[in-house]
C-alpha cells in the first residue's frame, strides 16, 4: 500500500495534528512500511467471518437511571489550563 504525503495531510486534519514538514516526510515513510506489512491480512479469506468487537458474550449492560451527585465544578476546573470561575475558556468560535 502506497502512502502519500497527501494522505498523511488528510488523516492529520481528521486527527487535529499538524506535523512540521520534515516530521511529515519521515512519518509518511514509516506509515507506508507499517501499512504494507499489515497487508499480510489480505492473504486470509475472511469473507464468511463476522467481525468480532468483544471477545466475551457481554451485551447491553443496563443500570437504573438514578441521579447521583457529580464532581465539584471548582475541583474539575483546577485541572483546566485556562478556566474562569465556572467554565473552560477557549478562543471565540462564533461571531
Amino acid at each position: 500500500m502506497k502512502i502519500t504525503e497527501e494522505m498523511v495531510d488528510y488523516v492529520s486534519i481528521l486527527s487535529r495534528l499538524k506535523l512540521p514538514e520534515e516530521e511529515k516526510a519521515k512519518m509518511t515513510g514509516e506509515l507506508e512500511q507499517i501499512v504494507s506489512y499489515m497487508d499480510v491480512l489480505a492473504r486470509l479469506d475472511t469473507s464468511e467471518i463476522e467481525p468480532m468487537s468483544h471477545v466475551f458474550p457481554v451485551r447491553n449492560v443496563f443500570r437504573a437511571d438514578e441521579v447521583v451527585p457529580s464532581y465539584s465544578r471548582a475541583e474539575l476546573l483546577k485541572n483546566a489550563p485556562v478556566p474562569d470561575k465556572e467554565a473552560f475558556l477557549v478562543p471565540k468560535t462564533v461571531e
Binding site: 488523516v11 487535529r16 512500511q33 491480512l41 468480532m52 471477545v55 485541572n79
Partner: protein, 488 residues
C-alpha cells in the same frame, strides 16, 4: 532480615506478626527509591509524605487486619487515576493533571491496606515496548543500565526488580506487563479481560486494556489479584463472581495438567538462548507430573498486524479527549480554536503516540475501513477460535514472552515496525482476552533475564498461577536479583 528481599506476602506476614512495622517497611522502601531512582528513573512521582502518614495510620490497625498484603508498600503505573496525585501517562499533554477520583482498583487496594509510594514511569500513553518514549525520560533496566526495562510498564518492572517496592500494578494492552516483567526478571500477570475494572485506567485501547500485578512471585501476583478483581458497575465490561481466592487455592499441583507448546512460537526470529530456557520450563513441570505436547498454532503471522490495527484505531478515538481545554497542558500562540487543538496535540504528544493516532485514523477512514479495521476484527475472530481450539486440548500453553532479552537503550525506536514485531508472543492474548503470566526462567550470556509465558483459557487464572507456583517451588530464578552496572 533484609526487608527489601522479602516477597510481598512474606512482608505482609512479618507485619502481621509484629516483626516489622508498616512505617519501618515504608521508610526502607522510600530510602531504596531515593537511592535507585536517579539510576533507573522508575518513578515519575514519589508520594513520600503521604506514604509515611498512611503507614502510621495503618500500623494502628495491624491487630485487626486480615488482608495478606496489609501494610505492604507498592506503586502504580502513571496511567492509573489517583485522587489528588499527579497522573501523567508519561505525556507532556497531561501536564500536572491530578484526577478528582480514584480508579476502582486504587479503592480496592486501599481497602486491602496498601501503602502507595508513588507513580511509575512508562511509555507515553502505554504506547511502546521499551519505556523510552516517556516525556520524563527513559527508564533503565536495573540488571544493566545501558539496557531498556521493556514497556510499557517499564517503571513498574524496574521498581520491583530494583527492590524499590514489593509489588506494583501495571497495565497490559499488548504485553505491557508481561514483556517488562520478562526483561527485568520479575513475575507479572495480565488477567482475563474484564476481571479487573478499567474504571480510572486512562484508556489506550479499551477492548484490549487490562491491569495486573508485577511482583517477585506467582503467589504475590495471586494475592494482588484477589484484592483487585471483581464486578464494577462503573465498567460495563467487568465480569463478576468468576472464582474464589486464587491465593487460597494455590497448591502448585500440576499432576495430569496438559501443557501445549506451539511450535509456531519457537521458529525464526527467536533467540536460541531464550528458546532453550523456555523449553526447560516444560521439563520442570513434566517432572511434577504435567503432560507436555507440541502442537501447531498457525495464526502467529497475523497477530501483530491485527493487534496494531485494532489498538491504533481505538487509540485514535480515545486520545481525541486530549485537546488543551479540559485538563492538562495547552500550547501557546494559537490563532483560533482549531489552531489551539492542532498546536496542543502536535506539541503535546510524542512521535510514537502521533504515529499510532495517524495510523488509527487511517484504518478507520472512508475507503480503508473495510480493508484494515473490519478485516482486523474478522481476523481477531479467527485468532480467538484458534486459541479456543487449543484450549479444548490443553490446560495451558507455554511460549516465550519476547523473542530476545532486553535490547540496549536507543536500539528500538529508530525502527517502529521492528519494535512492533517483537510483541508477537504477547499480543494474541489481548486479542483473545486470555490470562497470561510472565516469569523469569534463566539468564542469557550477558546476564540479562529471560522470561517464559504461561497462557490459560479465559478465567483460567488459577491454572496459570498454579503452574507458575509449581515452577517457582522447584527453581530459584525468581530469587535472582540484579547486581546493577552495565551489561557484561
Amino acid at each position: 532480615m533484609e526487608l527489601m528481599e522479602l516477597t510481598a506476602l512474606e512482608l505482609g506476614a512479618a507485619i502481621k506478626k509484629g516483626e516489622v512495622s508498616v512505617p519501618e517497611a515504608t521508610r526502607a522502601a522510600l530510602n531504596r527509591v531515593s537511592e535507585a531512582n536517579p539510576e533507573n528513573n522508575a518513578f515519575i512521582t514519589v508520594t513520600a509524605e503521604a506514604a509515611m502518614a498512611r503507614a502510621e495510620e495503618l500500623q494502628k490497625g495491624v491487630k485487626d487486619a486480615s488482608a495478606p498484603l496489609y501494610g505492604v508498600p507498592m506503586a502504580l503505573k502513571d496511567n492509573i487515576c489517583t485522587k489528588g496525585v499527579k497522573t501523567s501517562c508519561a505525556s507532556k499533554i497531561l501536564g500536572d493533571f491530578a484526577p478528582v477520583y480514584d480508579a476502582t482498583l486504587v479503592e480496592k487496594l486501599e481497602q486491602g491496606g496498601n501503602v502507595l509510594l508513588g507513580k511509575l514511569n512508562m511509555d507515553e500513553f502505554a504506547m511502546g515496548s521499551t519505556s523510552e518514549t516517556s516525556y520524563y525520560g527513559p527508564v533503565k533496566n536495573p540488571w544493566a543500565t545501558d539496557h531498556v526495562p521493556g514497556g510499557s510498564s517499564g517503571g513498574a518492572a524496574a521498581a520491583v526488580a530494583a527492590g524499590e517496592c514489593w509489588y506494583a500494578v501495571g497495565s497490559d494492552t499488548g504485553g505491557s506487563i508481561r514483556q517488562p516483567a520478562s526483561y527485568c526478571g520479575v513475575t507479572g500477570m495480565k488477567p482475563t479481560y474484564g476481571t479487573v475494572s478499567r474504571y480510572g485506567l486512562i484508556a489506550y485501547a479499551s477492548s484490549l486494556d487490562q491491569m495486573g500485578p508485577l511482583a517477585r512471585t506467582a503467589a504475590d501476583c495471586a494475592a494482588v489479584l484477589d484484592a483487585v478483581t471483581g464486578k464494577d458497575k462503573r465498567d460495563g465490561t467487568s465480569l463478576g463472581g468468576t472464582y474464589g481466592s486464587l491465593l487460597a487455592a494455590l497448591d502448585g499441583k500440576v499432576k495430569g495438567m496438559k501443557i501445549g507448546i506451539p511450535d509456531d512460537c519457537f521458529g525464526d526470529g527467536l533467540d536460541a538462548e531464550v528458546s532453550q530456557a523456555v523449553l526447560a520450563v516444560a521439563e520442570v513441570l513434566r517432572a511434577r507430573g504435567a503432560q507436555v505436547e507440541h502442537f501447531a498454532l498457525p495464526v502467529m503471522e497475523y497477530v501483530v498486524p491485527t493487534y496494531y490495527i485494532i489498538a491504533a484505531a481505538e487509540a485514535s478515538s480515545n486520545l481525541s479527549r486530549f485537546d488543551g481545554v479540559k485538563y492538562g497542558w495547552r500550547a501557546e500562540g494559537y490563532e483560533d480554536l482549531t489552531d489551539l487543538y492542532n498546536k496542543t496535540r502536535t506539541e503535546g504528544f510524542g512521535a510514537e503516540v502521533k504515529r499510532r493516532i495517524l495510523l488509527g485514523t487511517f484504518v478507520l477512514s472512508t475507503g480503508y475501513y473495510d480493508a484494515y479495521y473490519k478485516k482486523a476484527l474478522q481476523v481477531k475472530a479467527v485468532i480467538k477460535k484458534a486459541y479456543d481450539e487449543a484450549f479444548s486440548n490443553y490446560d495451558l500453553i507455554l511460549t516465550p514472552v519476547a523473542p530476545t532479552t532486553a535490547p540496549r537503550l536507543g536500539e528500538s525506536l529508530s525502527d517502529p515496525l521492528k519494535m512492533y514485531l517483537s510483541d508477537i508472543y504477547t499480543v494474541p492474548l489481548n486479542l483473545a482476552g486470555l490470562p497470561g503470566l510472565s516469569m523469569p526462567c534463566g539468564l542469557d550470556q550477558n546476564g540479562m533475564p529471560i522470561g517464559a509465558q504461561l497462557i490459560g483459557p479465559a478465567l483460567g487464572e488459577q491454572k496459570v498461577l498454579n503452574a507458575a507456583h509449581a515452577f517457582q517451588m522447584d527453581t530459584d530464578f525468581h530469587k535472582m536479583a540484579p547486581k546493577g552496572g552495565t551489561a557484561q
